[in-house]
């Protein structure tokens, strides 16, 4: 298990390094003035140009530049945002927790609900119920993230007036304690619900297929032979074994959820890293964009490690073979 973990950590670090190198190469390969590309669509004062040339060693050979760049990134120096006039790291530190709150909550709720729907859909004896779930899931799977957000806003915020349309809280809030939490929750409700719906459809689709596959396995026949009841078979054999393959795709799915943040935060004007990305793209604020990309790559890689470990922990076949080397 320890060896398994170490191996995955090492691989993760390599992947991250690779991503940074890849980004560096992309930045380098852009034709034109590198300083201008780095700064974006803004006039470059000569002092800044000199400083940047010095900092990135632009007159040095490729590998030495790459080395400097990596060293900076490793020290948490992600550059300076011309658009916000702040270090990129500081902006990310402020915004990432918000995105994590939003995407993380929606992602977790979505997985739980999706698994439940998938199981129910696959094991219900009524073909009609299964068909209904399948159709809902298919439609949900086809809806663009931001459109779901818009629909929810139109329904719950505009038509029914239950919830605020955007933002993450009123500019000036006097609420404290529980009220403050509640107030926050009302602002988070719609974006989180959007996330949840989309993640749930993704998971449900996969889960249903997985349960269907499990039900065809020989050990289900064995369980029936032992005279176990339907309920006992489902709880004891079907659920756990069908969740395993779903776990394996959760890491990538988390990446998709983080990507969804870009669109959703824009719909709800939510000040997280997603809207930071969009604003920076619009302002051609390259340093900030690169910061967001690296951050998202990090979070996906971390999530992949978590998923790998979780899988290894749940599936004895991995656990044993890895502990033996």
């Amino acid at each position: 298990m320890l060896r398994h973990t170490a191996k995955h950590l090492a691989q993760a670090i390599l992947v991250l390094l690779g991503v940074v190198v890849l980004i560096f190469c992309l930045l380098q390969s852009i034709p034109g003035d590198p300083i201008q590309a780095m700064v974006g669509d803004m006039p470059v004062p000569p002092a800044l140009r000199a400083a940047l040339e010095e900092r990135f060693g632009l007159n040095e050979p490729f590998f030495s530049r790459l080395y400097r760049y990596l060293a900076n990134v490793l020290q948490g120096d992600l550059g300076y945002s011309m658009n916000y006039r702040r270090p990129v790291f500081d902006i990310l530190a402020e915004r990432f927790p918000r995105t994590l709150l939003l995407a993380g909550t929606g992602y977790s709720l979505g997985i739980v609900i999706g698994i439940a729907i998938g199981i129910h859909s696959a094991i219900t004896p009524h073909r009609g119920v299964d068909q209904a779930w399948s159709s809902l899931v298919l439609i949900g799977y086809a809806m663009p993230t931001f459109w779901v957000g818009q629909l929810l806003v139109m329904l719950f915020a505009i038509q029914l007036g239950w919830l605020p349309t955007q933002g993450m809280g009123p500019m000036i809030s006097r609420a404290t304690g529980f009220d403050w939490v509640l107030e926050r929750a009302t602002y988070l409700a719609l974006p989180v619900a959007t996330y949840t719906i989309l993640e749930a459809t993704r998971v449900a689709r996969f889960m249903r297929a997985s349960v269907a596959e499990t039900l065809e396995q020989g050990y289900i026949v064995t369980a029936r032979q032992k005279g176990l009841s339907r309920r006992e078979i489902i709880m004891g054999h079907v659920v756990r074994n069908s969740i395993l393959p779903v776990i394996t795709v959760m890491g990538y799915s988390f990446g998709t959820a983080m990507g969804g943040a870009v669109l959703l935060e824009t719909v709800f004007s939510y000040p997280g890293v997603g809207s930071l990305m969009v604003e920076s793209v619009r302002a051609r604020d390259t340093q900030a964009i690169v910061g967001v990309v690296i951050l998202i790559a990090c979070s996906v890689v971390v999530m992949n490690i978590v998923v790998d470990l979780l899988y290894a922990w749940l599936d004895p076949r991995i656990r044993v073979s890895s502990s033996q080397g």
Partner: protein, 274 residues
């Protein structure tokens, strides 16, 4: 029947038909089969792929997989009760208390890969009072099928066992309700020759020591010769011949049986051996 008086039949199938719908056509997988197994008797059903022998086995034990059935008819009496007509609840009770289990070809896929052997055995022993009793009985069952390192095996996962051990664990599980009969579908086909031989010996011992009746479904005439007293030959969904094992091998009455035997003799044409 090889000396044993036919007091009563343990399992009797009468006019069993299993017709399936495959790609819109009706396939008569089992087409009017009669068959008897007496207490303590070891009966073989032998046939080639497509003969319907597996379908028959699974129909009789009510373990047909999810397929479109065009017809499932006839009577299968096990200890006097019609299995095919039983309510699901009664069927579960029958399986729990009297055991009417089937052992399959590929033991790996018939064991849950994520649970230790002890958990899987315990599920078959829920009629026992407490955990100690379950454990004792589990170890006893494993010893009965020739597995001695019981404490260790109980803590292992299926993939940590060899093929032969897995198949014996499957047999032990089938023995949990102390059944009078065991149905085995190609129980040794996936195993190596030496392991196959051990499993056959285990089955033979169980047949002798516990007077356990067996219905062995196989394509292997060698296995039939080794293990069975009475043989049914199946071809195209029908029983084409039913005879005592010696009679069948010495003087087959049916042409198909004769051709099977000829093929077997061609393959077993021994030059160097006894």
């Amino acid at each position: 029947m090889s000396g044993k008086p036919a007091v009563s039949t343990l399992l009797s199938a009468r006019d069993v038909k299993v017709h399936l719908r495959v790609h819109g056509r009706i396939v008569k997988a089992v087409d009017g089969v009669d068959l008897d197994v007496h207490p303590g008797q070891c009966v073989g059903i032998v046939g080639e792929s497509g003969s319907g022998k597996s379908t028959l086995g699974r129909a009789m034990t009510r373990l047909l997989p999810n397929v479109e059935l065009a017809e499932l008819s006839g009577a299968v009496r096990f200890c006097g009760e019609d299995v095919l007509a039983m309510a699901p609840e009664a069927m579960r009770a029958l399986r729990r208390h009297r055991g009417f289990s089937m052992v399959f070809q590929d033991p790996l896929s018939y064991l849950n890969p994520t649970l230790r052997i002890d958990r899987q055995l315990a599920e078959a022993l829920r009629h026992l009072a407490d955990r100690n009793a379950v454990r004792q009985r589990s170890e006893e069952l494993l010893r009965q099928v020739g597995l001695d390192d019981t404490a260790r095996i109980l803590r292992l996962y299926p993939h940590e066992l060899s093929g032969g051990m897995r198949q014996r664990v499957m047999i032990a599980m089938a023995l949990a309700p102390d059944p009078q009969m065991l149905v085995a579908d190609e129980p040794t086909t996936a195993l190596d020759a030496t392991v196959q031989y051990q499993v056959i010996q285990t089955l033979r011992r169980l047949n002798k020591e516990r007077n356990l009746a067996m219905l062995i479904i196989t394509h292997d005439l060698g296995m039939v010769a080794e293990l069975c007293e009475h043989v049914y030959v199946m071809h195209g969904g029908k029983i084409v011949e039913s005879a005592d094992v010696f009679t069948l091998f010495d003087a087959p009455r049916n042409d198909y049986t004769a051709s099977l035997l000829a093929a077997a003799r061609r393959l077993h044409q021994t030059r160097s051996l006894v």
